[in-house]
């Protein structure tokens, strides 16, 4: 059974995601809404990681390096600090969007397996996780849409 691989993937992608939200929040302290919202969302992702505990115990987990690679690519190499300026904010939020989408589809895959296994606890965890991910994506989309015109048109230099 490869569920363990996916539980592992989910587990580490959630951790990566929480770290990434915190990093972007801290890096954009001058956008107080970004900072606060990133912290709130990161806190909720921590909660999901915790809820994943019993699932990990039940099915085990097999760590994949995929999200680590994602993190390396998007958040560490290029992320010695936040990118600056309006465009930098848009880009950082866009990276978060990509990472969140990765988690989103991972939840979907695990959710499908949960249906097959008729595991109600796992299903509930997946439902909560998917809702939270939808909220993250919705916020990112909202904030990116607001910021983009000013960043792309009015910023100079």
């Amino acid at each position: 059974m490869h569920l363990a691989t996916y539980v592992g993937l989910l587990h580490s992608s959630l951790r990566t995601l929480a770290d990434a939200f915190r990093a972007v929040g801290d890096g954009h302290g001058e956008e107080p809404d970004v900072k606060t919202t990133c912290q709130v969302l990161a806190g909720r992702i921590d909660g999901q990681v915790e809820r994943l505990g019993p699932i990990v115990e039940r099915y085990g987990e097999h760590r994949e390096s995929e999200p680590e690679r994602l993190r390396a690519a998007e958040f560490e190499a290029g992320f010695t600090g936040a990118r600056s300026g309006g465009v930098g904010l848009v880009r950082d939020l866009q990276d978060l969007y990509a990472l969140t989408s990765f988690t989103d589809i991972t939840w979907t895959v695990v959710g499908q397996a949960a249906q097959g296994l008729r595991d109600q606890e796992l299903l509930d965890t997946v439902t909560a996780g998917t809702q939270d991910t939808a909220r993250q994506l919705a916020w990112l989309r909202t904030r990116i849409k607001e910021a983009a015109p000013q960043a792309l048109i009015a910023a100079h230099g």
């Binding site: 107080p32 809404d33 912290q39 709130v40 806190g43 909220r135 989309r141 607001e146 000013q150 009015a154």
Partner: protein, 762 residues
Amino acid sequence: MDRIADIWGPRTPHTPGAAWPVRVDQHLEEGLTESDVDRWVQSACVLCSNGCACDVAVKDGRMVGVRGRAEDVVNRGRLGPKGLYGSWQWSDTDRLTRPLVRENGKLVETDWDTAMDLVVRRSKELLNEVGPLSHGFYTSGQLFLEEYYTLAVIGKAGLGTPHMDGNTRLCTATAAAALKETFGADGQPGTYTDIDVCDALFLFGHNMAETQTVLWSRVLDRLEGPDRPVLVAVDPRETKVAQHADVHLAPLPGTNQALMNGLVRELITRGWVDHEYVKAHTIGFAELKQTVEPYTPEHVAEVCRIDANDLRRAAELFGTKDRVVSTVLQGFYQSHQATAASCQVNNLHLLRGMIGSPGRGVLQMNGQPTAQNTRETGADGDLPGFRNWSNPQHIEQLARLWNVEPLTIPHWAPPTHAMQIWRYAEQGTIRFLWISGTNPAVSLPELSRVRAILRQENLFVVAQDGFRTETTELADVVLPAALWGEKHGTFTNATRTVHLSEQAVEPPGEARSDLDIFLDYARRMDFHDKDGDVLIKWKDAEGAFDAWRECSRGRPCDYSDLSYERLRGGSGIPWGTERLYGDHRFPTDPDYCEDYGHDLLTGATTTPEQYRAKQPGGRAFLKAAEYVPGPEQPSAEYPFVCTTGRTVYHFHTRTKTGRSRRLRDAAPEPWVEVSAEDAAELGVAQGDVVRVESERGAVEVSVRIGRCRQGVVFLPFHYGYWDTDSDEHDRAANELTATRWDPVSKQPVFKVSSVRITKREG
């Protein structure tokens, strides 16, 4: 009559449901009697959102007095201390009478042509160089409807910039946001006559006794009359309201959402829910129930540091009384999770079906007198006529009305909120900022930052006001504006009552009405529609009002059957019906609603598709959110929670009330309120000067002991620097507050800053 000492005046109690008796308050300049007055001119007071109707006394071309209008539904003749002593007394003291421009770092007097040429030249340069996104407008809650609508058309159809908001963002944005989230559109559901018949009154973060004194007189007439309603106050301070309350809940600032979740939970678990109503008229009960489930009275008591039994008692009163009225104001609006907490008040009413009939209603209050109009006309972060920025049909309607291309009207995102406008200015992407009728250098949070932004070389600042203020001193061009009594116009109070305010006297010197200034700018900019005709076709206030009537036609705030003629004489008239939602159909239809809503926790917008899928069909939304602790918690270094607010004797940044001798003498200097326990621990006594300091700045003020709960201190926010000699920035409460806002309404969090207090040596 002395309304400084006797703020609320003599009682006129009445039985529930009887008309509120008339009591006429009047004040004339010293030495004058009624027979000296040449004429009385109809208006309404602009010193808070109550909008008390009054007549202005004129003698020899000067305003010399004011008298409440007995026939008006809002005040039935009454006026409070600000109305009586602050309405006109400023009118000939150090007014701005000529335009000023900055030359070699100094503001010097000039003529209108020179000043406007400069404004228009810079405006055109930036339009060529960058485009409309370089322009931002920060307006007021104190101009007239006609002026806001004109400004909105200039911004949205003339320039095409989304960057326009009012200082209403600081005072009433949450009222609008909470109404939109719950009911689908802005619009005050209740009316003041509900207070005359209710048997329970809940004031959520609303220090009504100081903010709307005449409304509090109305409440006192019930509290001291037969069949007294019960009163519940939610306020961290022991205000006059709290002293009259049967239950006073004093949650720690920043914990309102926990408290509200607890109240809603009690209603649900104790069975005080009208399930039939909920099923027929609302959406979201299951989620609401699930969200509030963890908020047991004990849990809430711990988070909010209140007594669990007080919470139970308050919930029981809400759950069992037959006619419940709630009002909400800054204690909720200026906290984090502002919209979520205010929506919970709406939810309490919906759960009981307690809305739309006499004595059953919600009043999401406003702060400033004309804030309602900023919201209606789209001079804040909204579109005119409560139109929905993400509904293409609504954009079409505006485009047709103004005869411009729909793409001209920015609607790719909600219009930019004030805090973001200031951020863009700070980043140098807004380079032209036009401030009208407000004083951000005292009223915005984190003043050192605001001053730094206003001083930026690459930001061209136009400030339009009646006086020199802390803000005009940092502007590049200062335009002298006519004020209340010196121009015509209308405005709408917190219960949708529209008043006509006639011109009583000529403006001083060369001062012009805000309307004339905006029209002059539009003319010089040569804004035209897509057929090449002039964009703005009106030339005076009545013309602007008539254009607005057309714009609002068919929308929830429909003014089409109002006119200057109808508003002249008699009482003010509300738009809509006296109270909204008597038929329990809410404006949530996707084609009609003002907004598709947000996630209350993050402010993420609901997409049109998601909204349509809910098929609201006239039902209201029971929105829910968990409580999250505020971003700034007391620490060892900054152990106190500081909350800012109002005093009964002043309005806004005191530009008017500080120029009235009586009001100035009643509250000449700022202070800090500290509980007796904290004062003892700090070793300070009444009158001692202390330094109150946050991470962002400090003030030095004298101590007043009492009224706050332990660990909480209070600073009045009205005081700035125009009437001090020193160059220190040590008086304004907003030196301390943080740049931070509610995720949905974007209203700044003035009510929660961590501070330390030290006794000043010597």
